[in-house]
Amino acid sequence: MLDTRTIELALPGGMTLGDLDIDALDPDTMRAVLHAIFGCCDVARADAEALRETLETNGWTVRQGLTWVACAERGDVTERVSAPSRCEAVARLREYALLHEAEGCP
């Protein structure tokens, strides 16, 4: 059983919470945020840097960062989207999925 801890944070002066702020506090989001924080502190970070440098030495332009990933699977079809925001990722995922409503005729 994991320990449950409560953290109380004072909001910056004059700030109120909107729907989007509340949405960002849901468990999935918080889990992703914590994973990202731990990922940033990962002991393997030095290895990742070395791999990035190797790629750049070989002529690749490397971009890396935190992002939202949305994934949909149905039968044999998998669609996966990464985007800077959750809304954008899911919206794009919907468009990708719409192309698979039917396999279509040859």
Binding site: G75, R92, E95, L98, L99, E101, A102, E103, G104, C105
Partner: protein
């Protein structure tokens, strides 16, 4: 051991699941050339049967035309069996360039590049001409090969509701911040046989500074007054930026495809399209056969005229019998049955009556949209059509579906 028992068992379980879902595809051996009448062995080992073929893409009846066969033979003798090379190393013969020039003229474009298939053309074209700053806006019912091609391209993917021009316009407005906008559509949609509204699409493309892509595989050779395709039918001949089409349907039915369109776009495909760069050239005898096909249809519209007559006769015949068919102008005539089992049963019974027509159901078509897709050919004579209609009448009566509309069929058989 490289292929262990667990690996084998895993595949077998997946195949069993496909069977149990009723989605297992079985090939039927044909013991004759492709034509209106064919000899079929099905299931394997069963006696061969002569049946009328209503499911080939042999729209112009040229798959086994004696002049095309003779031209292919001559091409085989003159240029050999294969080239053992991709195009840009040592796989381009004079006849490849001849065919590309002829297709350019036929389709009313600026240049053309052959591909091993239209599937390959669609797989390669988007990645070659678009990047992450661009957007592809596709009709939601485009062919599977286009979907695969879009998935390979780095550009943003978006869709519009099938043939909904207001929705397409909204999407074009949304994407004005992108560098390039490409509207993507089939010319004739293979599932329902309906035609894209290319005149309206081209007008929107002009208004919102977009390019237009059309896959005209189910149209080249017979749609339009002289068979040039959907763009001719819609009055926008010469105004489509990218056309892909196949040599494997109306244009002889062998294999091969092409990207045809603006000179710079075709050149980009020649430089960057991976299916062109990394697969073999179209075989010389197919090139020679297709050159003959284009000779046959360039100035003589009798085959496409006959196909048009056959299509109208067939459509009206099915309507008169009381079948629920999808309206349209193409030789794809879907007979709507809505229920998957009914579609399979009707297809089986038609086969017993000497008619070869396949049932399609989810996931090939949307849920509750099962149908028999019939396809007409200029190779069909009136006698074939009358026999086909008689078989449909008999099988329709057996299942009690004549004169029933969608709701009545659904009420009786479910979806």
């Amino acid at each position: 051991m490289t292929y262990s028992t667990p690996i084998r068992e895993g595949y077998r379980q997946e195949l069993d699941a496909i069977r149990e879902a009723g989605l297992f595809k079985q090939e039927r051996s044909i013991h004759s050339p492709q034509s209106a009448g064919i000899r079929v062995e099905f299931p394997e080992g069963a006696p061969e049967r002569d049946v009328i073929n209503f499911c080939a893409n042999n729209y112009l009846g040229l798959s086994s035309h004696p002049d095309v066969i003779a031209a292919a033979h001559a091409g085989l003798d003159a240029r050999g069996y294969g080239m053992s090379s991709v195009r840009f190393i040592c796989g381009t013969q004079d006849i490849h360039h001849q065919l590309e020039r002829k297709l350019t003229e036929f389709l009313g474009t600026e240049d053309t590049l052959l591909f091993p298939s239209c599937m390959d053309a669609n797989a390669g074209v988007f990645e070659a001409v678009l990047d992450a700053e661009d957007v592809m806006i596709a009709d939601r019912l485009v062919h599977a090969s286009i979907v695969d091609g879009m998935r390979l391209a780095p550009a943003v993917r978006d869709t519009y509701k099938h043939s909904d021009m207001k929705h397409l316009e909204r999407k074009l407005q949304e994407h004005q911040d992108k560098r390039r906008r490409l509207i993507i559509t089939d010319g004739v949609f293979s599932m329902d046989g309906d035609l894209a509204k290319l005149d309206e699409i081209v007008a929107l493309a002009r208004q919102y500074d977009a390019m237009v892509f059309v896959d005209d595989s189910h149209a080249s050779g017979f749609i339009g007054r002289t068979g040039r395709g959907t763009h001719e039918h819609c009055g926008v001949f010469g105004e489509i930026d990218i056309i892909t089409t196949t040599l494997g349907k109306g244009l002889g039915g062998a294999s091969g495809g092409c990207v045809s369109g603006r000179a710079e776009i075709v050149e980009m495909c020649r430089q960057k399209a991976r299916p062109y760069l990394f697969s073999n050239t179209v075989a010389p005898m197919i090139v020679a056969g297709t050159l003959k096909v284009l000779d046959l249809i360039f100035t003589d519209t009798s085959r496409r005229d006959k196909l048009e007559w056959n299509t109208e006769y067939w459509r009206q015949g099915l309507i008169d019998l009381g079948f629920d068919i999808k309206q349209g102008d193409s030789p794809i005539v879907p007979v709507m049955l809505y229920n998957a089992k009914l579609a399979q049963d009707v297809s089986r019974d038609l086969y017993d009556e000497g008619v070869y027509a396949i049932g399609f159901f989810f996931p090939v078509v949307p849920k509750a949209a099962a149908r028999i897709r019939t396809q007409l050919s200029a190779a069909h004579d009136k006698e074939h059509l009358d026999k086909g209609l008689a078989a449909f009448a008999k099988v329709g009566a057996k299942h009690g579906i004549l004169g029933l509309g969608k709701q009545e069929i659904v009420d009786r058989f479910g979806t």
